[in-house]
């Protein structure tokens, strides 16, 4: 038998999906695709993203190279103009002919332009192709007002595009409400008020009578009620019509209102011709979404591969974000089923609207409408698609979250439940994929294709994946971020064992992509804890949070605060005077911190080096208030002065602070030393706290104030000075090695398997044989300590970065201060406006 010749007319998303599926089925057919547009298939669903910066190239789905690799003959820009059924061939505009054994029509649809006089004006456009976008962009350049005719899904997308182009945007809709197909009246009016709040003007119930040249603007629209609207351009997005002209001319059966009639095999009235996607009419209905089109494509490809597959119609439920507003519609949104009940929840303050439509006995979900909050969509869709029994009080499914809200866990779903409707992946498919050995979410995605279409199911897929792995006793992914599938602890070991000294090296060996603001500082902290290079070394600069980067703490207006170290809170009058003098000279706001030191606020970036030069000349050093590092060791005055003190708490605090200053850790570390059991230094609220006893020191660990207060645990009692320090060395290094990113010692200890007992075994009894190594590492860090500010001031290359502008000595004009209680503070926005108005 000669090779079958398959000709596909149309290379949109559905046509492309058909080629993809058929090629994948390895049928050995000779495949030809002929597209009308000058370019291969692209993602039309995300077309509007081109206006928010995505390049048209990024939308591409197919390419000439891809098709040639697949062995598919592809022709673009020369549309088919005629089907000659008797001769079984198609003819293109340029006169080329292509013979077929099977013909697949995937011609899609075209935008409906209402027959209004003047609609053919050159400033009246449509919105469907990449070329349309170009025309809209060009027209928008000379426009200040734009009108979208059509308040449906596409119309609102288009309105978003016009807004992004900076136009005053109007939506004109013939029907009484927006998105009338998907939403009921309540949902529609909530959507309207939300998008009006975004500045889009909505006009519903408007029947456009004529479009004429205007005087105020380029165009004027006249409506049946006599009103008029001036605009510079109009985009028609009032629905789609099936592109069925080829079929009509070839006398294939078409619907009364258009659409190529197909049966459940997607065959047209000619059994050698199929039609798929938006050009096809199945059961009297056009399926204007991409998922049903994909289903049809798979049905035809399956049949050509010899499978007995059929198209059974498709669910038209949809979830999307329009102008930033979440909108969801499931099944019978309008409550048209006989005897159906509806439950409505509407919250004017939060601007969200939710409706459930259930069967008369409230046991099954028939439909739903969600506007403003789509978080329940996935759950509701599963109830709907799987015909699952609803809980006794269905309304609880849409009421604001409360403790007893019924949860539909992924575990409860049947194996037939659809997880990804774009690629028709069921829970069973995902489970089978994991059974077959997939251990990463990326694996499951690439094998099943779940979540690679619209991405709406990604959260549910991840839940299912985690749930299945947990059920199999596999540890769930605790990746630091998308660039490293490791925990901080694992990365620490990789850096240490691999003797890795730069982020790039670690990323290259163990990660992917380019890094982000999560992994870069985390790795920088690990590198600092292990090798203690200067944080502003050229290769580390880009890794640091701004605070580490400029060795100061950024405040809300972009200025910085400066905190010199005042170890143990002890300061001489002379040094205290220097702080006062420097603060006066640079007009800084001054405040005493909770850690017994002084914070100087309002320093501009370019002032930092001069301020620090003066501080360092006076004997200060950096306080690391900007780092995930040891901050302060707070102390009470102790036995030196206090009548009750039993040990020199100030002396010990200074010794500890100077020992651990600059130590980089997963999070900041605070400490305190109290001279007696009255605990005036609040040591039990610190990461490590020391309280004097008659016989020495008690050591406490894992305390925290702040958001989640935790009293520290007594770790060891009556220690002498050297033992105390040895234990703290080991404790801190073990924490640095094993904690997660941004995990304080309190949470770390709570999560440590074996708890304080295990920690004692490691630190005191050396159960892991690590003690010597931990001490050695601490000794290295202490031995290589250098004041980061002193080092920075000595290095012109590092200093260069402390300026607002690379090409000017000016200051940031956005920084404005006003006086309050005899000091400066940042101006509030309304004050700023006033100040600018006065100064102009």
């Amino acid at each position: 038998m000669a090779t079958r010749r398959i000709v596909v007319v149309g290379n949109g998303m559905v046509g492309h999906h058909f080629l993809d599926t058929l090629v994948g089925a390895k049928t050995g057919d000779l495949i030809t695709v002929i597209g009308e547009e000058p370019r291969p298939a692209y993602d039309r669903v995300h077309l509007s993203e081109v206006f928010s910066g995505r390049s048209p190239e990024e939308l591409a789905m197919g390419s000439r190279k891809m098709y040639s690799d697949w062995g598919v003959e592809a022709h673009f820009g020369d549309p088919v103009v005629r089907i000659e059924r008797a001769a079984k061939r198609v003819v293109t505009g340029s006169g080329r002919t292509f013979a077929y054994d099977r013909l697949v029509l995937a011609t899609g649809s075209y935008p409906f332009v209402p027959p209004v006089p003047g609609a053919d004006n050159e400033r009246c456009l449509t919105y469907r192709t990449i070329d349309d976008l170009g025309a809209i962009k060009a027209a928008a350049k000379g426009s200040s007002i734009g009108v979208v005719v059509g308040g449906g899904l596409l119309g609102l997308e288009c309105a978003n595009a016009l807004q992004n182009l900076g136009l005053e945007t109007h939506v004109v809709e013939f029907a009484p409400g927006l998105m009338g197909v998907q939403l009921d009246d309540g949902g529609s009016s909530m959507l309207r008020s939300k998008i009006e709040a975004l500045g889009v003007r909505v006009h519903t119930g408007m029947n456009t009578q004529a479009i004429t040249g205007g005087s105020a603007c380029a165009l004027q629209m006249e409506f049946a009620d006599g009103t008029r609207l001036d605009t510079d351009m109009i985009v028609f997005s009032a629905g789609i019509r099936p592109q069925d002209a080829l079929a009509r001319d070839a006398e294939l059966a078409v619907g009364e209102r258009g659409g190529i009639v197909i049966d459940y095999k997607c065959k047209t009235s000619d059994s050698d011709i199929f039609a798929i996607g938006e050009c096809a009419l199945f059961g009297g209905r056009i399926y204007g979404l991409v998922a049903p089109g994909y289903r049809m494509a798979e049905v035809v490809a399956g049949q050509l591969a010899g499978e007995a597959v059929t198209f059974q119609g498709a669910d038209m439920s949809t979830k999307l974000k329009l102008l930033g507003v979440d909108v969801g519609s499931i099944g019978d949104a309008h409550c048209r089923t006989e005897g159906a009940l509806s439950y409505v929840y509407s919250d004017g303050r939060e601007a969200c609207y939710k409706k459930l439509v259930t069967s008369a006995d409230s046991s099954r979900l028939l439909g739903a409408v969600l506007v403003g909050d789509c978080s329940d969509y996935d759950t509701l869709l599963q109830y709907f698609l799987n015909d699952m029994a609803l809980p006794a009080d269905p309304q609880a499914l849409i009421l604001p979250a409360s403790g007893d809200r019924p949860q539909l866990g992924v575990a409860a779903l049947p194996a037939t439940a659809t997880i990804c409707s774009c690629h028709n992946v069921t829970k069973g498919d995902v489970v089978a994929c994991i059974d077959a050995g997939s251990v990463s979410l990326a694996d499951v995605k690439s094998t099943t294709r779940a979540s690679t279409g619209c991405g709406g199911c990604s959260a549910m897929l991840k839940n299912l994946f985690d749930d299945e792995l947990t059920a199999r006793g596999v540890t769930v992914d605790r990746s630091l971020c998308e660039h490293f599938s490791h925990t901080r602890q694992e990365l620490y070991h990789l850096v240490m064992l691999g003797e890795i000294h730069s982020f790039e090296e670690l990323l290259q060996k163990h990660g992917r992509g380019r890094g982000c603001e999560i992994c870069k500082p985390a790795v920088a902290s690990i590198l600092a804890a292990l090798w203690n290079d200067h944080v502003l070394d050229r290769r580390h600069v880009g890794l640091q949070d701004t605070n580490d980067n400029f060795l100061a703490n950024m405040q809300k207006d972009g200025t910085y605060s400066v905190v010199p170290r005042v170890a143990g809170g002890e300061i001489t009058p002379a040094k205290l005077s220097v702080l006062g003098a420097v603060a006066s000279k640079y007009q800084l706001y001054t405040k005493i911190t909770g850690g017994q030191r002084i914070d100087l606020f309002g320093a501009r970036l370019e002032q930092l080096p001069a301020i620090w030069q003066e501080l360092i000349d006076a004997g200060f050093e950096t306080g690391h208030a900007y780092g995930k590092a040891l901050r302060t060791v707070k102390s009470c005055v102790g036995s030196t002065w206090c009548r009750y003190g039993v040990q020199d708490s100030v002396g010990m605090a200074i010794r500890l602070e100077n020992r651990y200053k600059g130590l980089r850790a997963p999070h900041k570390i605070k400490s305190g030393v109290s001279g007696c059991t009255r605990e005036c230094a609040e040591a039990q609220s610190k990461d490590f706290g020391v309280i004097a006893t008659e016989n020495g020191w008690n050591l406490y660990v894992g305390g925290n104030g702040g958001m989640k207060p935790r009293h520290a645990d007594l770790f060891a009692a009556d220690l002498d000075d050297d033992t105390l320090i040895r234990y703290i060395d080991r404790f801190l290094m073990f924490y640095i090695r094993t904690a997660d990113r941004l995990q304080r010692t309190s949470v770390w200890l709570d999560n440590l398997e074996g708890g304080i007992g295990y920690l004692r075994a490691v630190v005191i009894d050396d159960s892991l044989g690590l003690a010597a190594e931990l001490e050695q590492q601490m000794a290295h860090i202490i031995g290589t300590y250098a004041c980061e500010w002193r080092a920075t001031l000595a290095d012109p290359d590092k200093l260069k970065r402390f300026r607002q502008f690379v090409n000017s000595d000016e200051s940031d004009s956005g920084v404005v201060f006003i006086q309050e209680r005899e000091q400066i503070r940042p101006a509030r926005p309304e004050e700023r406006l006033r100040l600018v108005a006065v100064s102009e």
């Binding site: 982000c516 207006d557 972009g558």
Partner: protein, 115 residues
């Protein structure tokens, strides 16, 4: 290049003023422009408005750069929202978009297009 086109480009600094893997800020007329130098990327230099429209301060040049889902971004040092280096769109809220400037390297000179 026509004379008109050439006059629209302004040298703002030299390559050595940039920080590899990070940002600096340049003044273009009265506008603050954040310049990000990523020597491994196609464009090498990316230019965005320095103003963080969410934090309302001129700080974006001091954010950490990286990629999210393959898209080059800078994370605001104030509240960590991500802005695309190529389009200026905020990944957390697509309605927010900050200006992007045309930028190029001519030898070791960094040029910005006068808007």
């Amino acid at each position: 290049m026509t004379a008109l086109e050439r006059s629209a480009w302004v040298v703002v600094c030299e390559r050595q003023d940039l920080v590899a893997g990070g940002g600096v800020c340049a003044l273009l007329g009265n506008e603050q422009v954040a310049l990000f130098y990523l020597p491994q990327e196609d464009c090498e230099v990316y230019a965005l408005a320095n103003r963080d429209p969410i934090g309302k301060a001129n700080v974006l040049s001091r954010g950490i750069v990286g990629d999210i889902g393959g898209q080059l971004v800078v994370a605001s040092p104030l509240y960590k929202q991500h802005f695309s280096l190529e389009s200026g769109v905020c990944l957390e809220d697509e309605r927010i978009r900050i200006p992007v400037y045309a930028v190029r390297l001519d030898g070791d000179s960094v040029l910005l297009a006068q808007p």
